[in-house]
Amino acid sequence: MVITEPAHSPLDSRSYPDIGDYAVIGDCRTAALVSKYGCIDWLCWPRFDSPSIFAGLLDRERGGYWRISPADSCSIEREYLNGSNVVETRFRTPTGTVALTDLMPVRDGTKSVMVADHEIVRQIACTTGQVEIEIELVPRANYGEKLPPIRDFGKLGIRIENGHGVYWLRSSLPMEIKDSGVWGKATLGAGETLVFSFTYTENAPAVLPALEQIPERIDTCIKWWQGWTAQGQYEGDFRDEVMRSALALKLMIFAPSGAIIAAPTTSLPERIGGGLNWDYRFCWLRDASLTIRALIELGFWVEATTFLDWLLHATRLTQPELRIIYTLYGNRPPKERESDVLRGYRGSRPVRIGNAARDQVQLDVYGEVVDAAAQFAFHGGDLDREMQKVLVGFGDYVVKHWDAPDQGIWEPRTEPRNHTHSRLLCWTALDRLIGLNEKGKLSGIPVEKYKKHAEAIRTQIQQRAWNEKLQSYVSELDGEKVDSSLLLLSWYGFEKPDGPRMRATYRKIRERLSTPEGLLYRSEDLPSEGTFAICSFWEAEYLALGGGTTQQTRDLIKTLTKHRNDLGLYGEEIDAKTGQALGNFPQAFTHVGYIGAALSLMQRETGEQQLAHRPESATPQPSHPKQEA
């Protein structure tokens, strides 16, 4: 996608781009955010959850950044190149045009050349006229807390020491060290190019890439991404959008373990100037089921399988009990702390590092993980003996604890309550285990015991989570409020989407939680924040599953598509007034939502089976699109 921005002056060091002004680049180990003004404002090396070296996103003056952009006013266009995660930003100035290419080379197992452990490659090429270029690299280690020493090593490059690790900046332009940063300026004529390599190493002598190989390496990286995208099997009407969401999701997968993070950033605010700022660089089990379904049905079996392996094996230290979040290698996330240095995106304080949700209890995670395994098995995957044992352990845990209060899907920092969504997922866990057993995919479960408890949960939800006066399911047992997670009652097969209770609940959600533009807030309880993007995709999927017509689904997906940024990326939330992205960016779960809604729509239109994991009793008879019209 290409858009044209009005001419403007390059940002000064104090102003913040919109959250949606960022592109993400990555190497499936970590990711960096590049603004459309050519500035890398977020980078944590070597992993997603490592301390930052650039955090200008959270403090323009103290966070650190790396800018390459024209000195003059310019208009800007940008796009991801040819189905890849390589971003090209074109700056058009009064005197000429330059194209900036940004990427993190992916390790593809190439054995004939040495490769840097971690690297960002940037190339700026003048295509027409003459353009003056400015380069500033201002490193600030450990979330802006440390000014790392910088030293010029001549032909080897510029070295930035950070404790046990070392950064190397190599450039085809001589750079100058000044004021604890690195600076450069050049005037490029048509056909002239500057290349930059920024690497990080902490376990061995660094590999210092040869600059003359950079153009070839950019092509290699684009081809790698194209090869990956070519595996995608979606053939519906939203192919470009779906594949962009898949590419964004791939960037959140930590290749060495298979874990999937929620987002590569911390503390981008859900309310500008407010305190709803959280660290999302961890793996939430809650996202497992919808994510596995998206990956499998798009044809990305390797990612789905490694993610399921991670889910069942990395969580082993706590099994059968599950925490709600884990680090990339299945450990407990660090204790939450607030940064003393970073002042937050547009003053949104505090900046949090670590996540206190690590201490919460959420009973829904068992259903999410079991359902993910069921998705895998019902699509033809095999559950080995060890996996089966783990799943039965989860089932037994659910039998003992399903009736307990918990913090629920929205993680409010309040006392535990009896959340309908948590009960739904406890029922899902037992129902899927019974289903797996019936289909010969799982043995060794106490079927009658699971059936008895599944029925008890069903009865409780139907009696106490249904509010007769309100004519709707409600967020908490015996409660009076609704939240968007109730849309998932159909997704998990508890209620038929076209059943009277589900339709009535949908109407109530629309009445209480929707905006005039058709977006959804997640809950009535939460403090003022943006609309929650995934909830709108749950709505679209609810419509696609039979709660509405295909035309309604298509219209809603089109509306939601307008709220992506120019590169096709979503944040966690969408500001109802401005349409701007809010919250951590980009958000894996939102992209999973897009993929899910588009898949369900396509499946309904082609008459394919939707959501293989649901019991048949919860699946409406597919109607032909023409009949609906």
């Binding site: 054995k111 004939s112 050349v113 040495m114 490769v115 090593f153 001549g154 032909k155 080897l156 490059g157 070295r159 404790g163 046990h164 690790g165 070392v166 190397w168 190599r170 190493t201 902490e202 376990n203 061995a204 002598p205 660094a206 590999v207 210092l208 890439p209 040869a210 003359e212 190989q213």
Partner: protein, 158 residues
Amino acid sequence: MNWGSWILSGFIATLALSALLVASQGLRLTRMNVPYMLGTIITPERERARLYGFFAHLLNGWVFSFFYVYIFQARHMVNWWFGLLLGLAHAFVLLTVGMALLPSIHPRMASERKGPTARRQLEPPGFMALNYGYRTPVSIFFAHAAFGAILGSLYHLH
């Protein structure tokens, strides 16, 4: 020369040296990774380089232990502190002469004068291997002192 004693004590001392060097990396005292540096002489591929380099380092340690043993025999003296002194001397030569010569010998190591090329991309060690972290000389001295001391303790004169 007590060949049997040399083979055994050389092997044990080399294993201890390797373990100490790996530990000092794990403790983040240094980025110097001798197996990786040796292995990249043979292959550019990271994992293979580490594996090949480990065996090359083992062989290397054995060869060097021969010179220690030769000195023990020539001086008719062997004990842990004499071995330790030899180890410190060995480390000093390695850090000064060895590290200075390495970019010329290693086919994939960049030179500070010419910079990296398509083939030579490995960061050179610099004076006393300080490019790999300012605590590198400490870990090298310590590991080699231990190597010599173990050899001096275990070897029996012929």
